[in-house]
Point group: C2
Chain length 405, copies 2
């Protein structure tokens, strides 16, 4: 008998009919002789609705209270799914994150899982129950509810699969799997049958919204194969696993894009040690992640420092960067929210010559100016004007012949 | 410093504005130098909405899952109230029933509180927090969520007041207090400044919907004074306490009515020991409470057995009573859902002559036929036709001069 962990996202359980549809899929998996643990997100827009309720009574609600409030969304969907399974004659029980043994640190709204005590889940499986776990939530040492932040339910599923030593971890969502590019931009984009953890991690981090990078990373660390597939279709999806050799087919796997990008340039920075450190430390303290960083060649001990952040962090970043810039005697600060990223991802990209050149040539032929470049072992990212991102994705998909993937 | 437990019902927290209004009242109580514990119900129609969601996916949801689902309603309102207090600058924290230490038996949907471990509540009070507790819910030995059924949040409040040895327990609702009769029926009804536990218990049990009898009973057992008042007004409400002498003013305190009544008559029952026991045991096993029971004088070892039940229990009661009636050779069964109760309540009623006589005369003068009578030390109840109940209440209110209360 196999143990399968399945995760269903909010759009898959948005109403009663969709919950029944998901229940039928789960019941089928169970009838096929599997033990099944299901992680479920909040129904449709529930989380947004709860956030609106909160901001209606408080401009600045405490993150502890917000976490307790938001956690109810997943509790509601988990009980409804257990009831739907009952109406199909399947034996099941819902558990909150706390009951499922998910222990976290105290970082409300973005808690990290510290460990999982799977005893209750195991006991319920042994009783013959399908176990429905409310995703996105856990409990800290104070026995208070925490939420796991972005990608929380995916992370719950992968972490439970690790803890239970599950045979399979399946993430069901509203797309059919991982594509060579966003199918809404590139109509010829192909669904991939499989992808390596590293590539998937770069795809996720650089804008493919199929799965959150932290869940992919967890799968990679514990070498749990993760299937990403549609909860609405019967198609086989994409298997994320570690069995793909690093030097594999040695080609571009996919194109990712990200429009939630803003560029910050501090002009005329005195080239002294410690200045960059000051800036990035203060941004980090404010919870603002800095991405691509470029410091232009120094002329007469004066330099320009450029970096990118999430567009949604632009307002707090401006408040932090401006005073520092005047403090250190910089000439100017430029904040540009009209940029985006396009990335090519594939094993062996950095060690095989020609990929970077072909990427830059392609963009140049499209008349797209490259502002910044960043690379990893398996990725090359260009920062370009926001309004050129879609054209860039289409041109690169053609140039790397991904429609034949 | 006094410790005050306050309870706010669902209509008092039905939307953001009402939550802010309640928060202002709580903050004021705190600013006046009190430690405050607040028990809150689910917002407005939340519970009904959740029940609809449940029956949308399952005709017969398990009561365990239903309890987990319904408990989220009070968790939502408790966090919102904590946030509203924060926006007023008051320090507060929300706790679920489980976190507040409310332990119950396993009777899902109608759990009884077995004990309260108040340590977490005390710790939060000592930190200077106003403690908001989600009402209507607790946790059983399996660490599963249970709900307390009807009157659950009132019971949570009184039980917490007992456990914390609170100085005051205040139940805020959408009425100004306890009246001599339902003000929607009798426009001259007077609000009572105080009432004894016993009288309040009879008023609650016999139809006054201000407070659930189980919460009144708990207050009586532990001698906790309970103030019932409006959350919308600044009026002083009604104090329920034990300090009123049994022989007090020796008069009728109030008139109660109940329309949720059905009458069952088993005609021609052989007058043998054990037959009534069989019937009432089977009804009790099905969770059906039997009220007034009358067995008419036996003629030739044949008797008529009449009793009343809640109108809402009529269908299951019919299924139980019919087979028993034919089993024991009764001639017929009559089920009458068109009846109601009217009661006069007051200390010393049974020991002072004249009250019963005046009640029966008054009803007779109104042309109202009395079908059954039941009495307690402080109450006389008549079962009459449903459509005569309002007239009866008005006539009795006049006859006992309650408009001068």
């Amino acid at each position: 008998m196999s143990l399968v962990v399945q995760k269903y996202g909010g759009s898959s359980v948005a109403d009663g009919e969709k919950i029944m549809n998901v229940a039928r899929r789960i019941a089928k998996t169970s009838e096929n002789g599997n033990q099944v643990v299901v992680v479920v997100s909040a129904m449709g827009d529930t989380t947004d609705d709860l956030i609106k309720l909160a901001y209606n009574v408080c401009e600045n609600p405490s993150s502890r209270e917000l976490d307790v409030l938001l956690s109810t969304g997943e509790i509601v969907s988990s009980t409804l799914l257990a009831m739907a399974l009952k109406s199909l004659g399947a034996k099941s029980i819902s558990l909150t994150g706390a009951q499922a043994g998910i222990r976290t640190d105290n970082s409300y709204s973005k808690a990290r899982i510290t460990n999982i005590d799977p005893r209750r889940v195991v006991r319920e499986l042994e009783k013959g129950n399908i176990v429905i776990v409310a995703g996105f939530q856990g409990m800290n040492e104070e026995m208070d509810t925490t939420t796991l932040g972005r990608g929380g339910s995916d992370t719950t599923a992968v972490a439970l699969a690790v803890s239970l030593e599950a045979d399979k971890c399946e993430i069901y969502t509203d797309v059919a799997g991982v594509y060579t590019a966003d199918p809404r931009i590139v109509s010829q984009a192909k669904k991939l049958d499989e992808i390596g953890y590293e590539e998937m991690l770069e795809m996720s981090t650089y804008g493919a919204n199929v799965m959150h990078p932290r869940a992919v990373e967890l799968g990679q660390i514990y070498n749990i194969p993760i299937l990403v597939a549609s909860s609405f279709l019967e198609s086989p999806g994409t298997l994320i696993h570690g069995g793909i050799p690093m030097e594999g087919r040695n080609r571009v796997t996919g194109i990712a894009q990200d429009l939630n990008v803003a560029k910050v340039t501090i002009v005329g920075v005195p080239d002294k040690p410690g200045i960059a450190a000051t800036i990035f430390e203060r941004l980090a303290n404010a919870g603002i992640s800095v991405d691509t960083i470029v410091q232009n060649a120094s002329i007469e001990n004066i330099t320009d420092l450029t970096f990118t952040i999430a567009k949604s962090d632009l307002a707090p970043a401006t408040e932090i960067v401006k005073p520092i810039a005047s403090e250190i005697g910089a000439r100017d600060c430029i904040f540009d929210p009209t940029v985006g990223k396009v990335s090519i991802i594939g094993t062996g990209i950095q060690t095989s010559p020609g990929y970077a050149a072909r990427m830059f040539t392609t963009l140049s032929q499209e008349g797209i100016n490259i502002m910044l470049i960043s690379t990893s072992e398996i990725r090359i990212t260009c920062i370009i004007k926001e309004d050129k991102v879609k054209d860039a994705v289409r041109a690169l998909h053609r140039a790397f012949e991904l429609e034949q993937a």
